[in-house]
C-alpha cells in the first residue's frame, strides 16, 4: 500500500492497521524519516513531487520489494507540502513471517525510495530557500540493492552508455526491470 499526502501520520496506528488479523506475520520493521535540523537554522522544508509519477514509482518500488522478499504486508507513506523540523516525512513498513526479510525489505524500501521516487526538498533557512542537493551516500545505499549499474534517474541525463568497466555481464532477467534498469548489470 502506498500513500502520498500532506497530512501527518501515526506510525503505530498505521502499523496496527496494516497487520491487523494477519497471524502469519512474525515480525514488522518500520522506518520513520524526520525533518532534520543539523545546524539549528532550519525554519522549515517544502516537499515537492511529480503527481502521478510519484505514486507509480512508489508502487513499483513496493512491488519490487514483494518480489525480492516474502512479505505479508508493506506500506509506504510520504508527505508533501510544507514541513517543520521534527516533523515526520516518510514511513516505510515491511511485515514478514521472518525477521530477516522484514529488516532487509524495510531498508530496501527507504533506500530505493530516496533515489527513485520523484520528490524534491527545498529548505527554508536564515539565508533564504535552497534546494537540497542529492547525496552520494543515498546513491550508494540504493546501489547496494541494485545490480543494474546505469540508471538514467541517477546519472547525468547525457550519459546513455554504461560507464567504463561496467559493461560486464548481461542484465539478470530473473529480476524484473523497473524502467531505470536499462543497461548492463553487475553482481
Amino acid at each position: 500500500m502506498i500513500r502520498v499526502q500532506r497530512e501527518d501520520f501515526d506510525p503505530g496506528a498505521e502499523i496496527e492497521r496494516l497487520i491487523a488479523g494477519q497471524t502469519g506475520i512474525g515480525g514488522v520493521v518500520s522506518f520513520t524519516g524526520l525533518v532534520r535540523d543539523l545546524t539549528g537554522d532550519l525554519a522549515g522544508m517544502t516537499l515537492e513531487h511529480y503527481p502521478g509519477m510519484t505514486e507509480a514509482k512508489l508502487a513499483e518500488i513496493e512491488a519490487e520489494a514483494g518480489r525480492r522478499w516474502p512479505l505479508s504486508a508493506s506500506l509506504i507513506i510520504h508527505r508533501v507540502g510544507p514541513l517543520k523540523p521534527g516533523d515526520r516525512i516518510v514511513l516505510v513498513v515491511a511485515a514478514s513471517p521472518h525477521r530477516d526479510a522484514a529488516f532487509e525489505a524495510c531498508r530496501f524500501l527507504i533506500d530505493w525510495l530516496k533515489t527513485k521516487a520523484p520528490f524534491w526538498k527545498s529548505e527554508q533557512t536564515a539565508t533564504g530557500p535552497r534546494w537540497v542537493d542529492q547525496r552520494a551516500s543515498d546513491d550508494a545505499a540504493a546501489a547496494r540493492w541494485d545490480p543494474a549499474a546505469d540508471d538514467p534517474a541517477e546519472n547525468t541525463a547525457g550519459r546513455t552508455e554504461p560507464a567504463p568497466g561496467r559493461t560486464g555481464p548481461a542484465p539478470d532477467r530473473s529480476k524484473p526491470a523497473m524502467g531505470w534498469e536499462k543497461t548492463a548489470a553487475r553482481d
Binding site: G33, L47, E48, H49, Y50, G52, M53, A56, H78, I89, V90, I110, L113, K114, T115, K116, A117, P118, F119, W120, K121, S122, W131, V132, D133, Q134, R135, D138, D151, P152, A153, E154, T156, A157, G158, R159, T160, G179, W180, K182
Partner: protein
C-alpha cells in the same frame, strides 16, 4: 507535447507546465532541450548544466537520446531528494 518543470527547473524557467508548439523535426530529448534553451534566458539558465538535469518521458526516467513524439508528457527536474 506537454512539458513539466519541477523544483529549481520550474523556478528558473518560470513555468510549472506548458504545451508549446514543438517543431516537428525535433525527435529526441537532446534536441528538445537544445530548442528549449534557445527560447530565452530563463530556459538557457535552466538547461545550462545538464549534469544536474533529469528527464522523464511519460513518467519513465530516460536519457538524452530518448525519442519523443507529439502527445508525450516530458518532465524536467533536478536529482531526486525525497525520503
Amino acid at each position: 507535447m506537454k512539458l513539466l518543470y519541477f523544483a529549481w527547473l520550474r523556478e528558473r524557467v518560470g513555468l510549472a507546465e506548458e504545451e508549446p508548439e514543438v517543431p516537428a523535426e525535433i525527435g529526441d530529448v537532446a534536441g528538445l532541450i537544445r530548442w528549449l534553451a534557445g527560447r530565452g534566458d530563463n530556459f538557457a539558465r535552466a538547461f545550462a548544466d545538464l549534469s544536474v538535469v533529469r528527464v522523464a518521458v511519460n513518467q519513465e526516467y530516460v536519457g538524452l537520446d530518448q525519442e519523443i513524439a507529439p502527445g508525450d508528457e516530458i518532465a524536467f527536474f533536478p536529482p531526486l531528494t525525497g525520503g
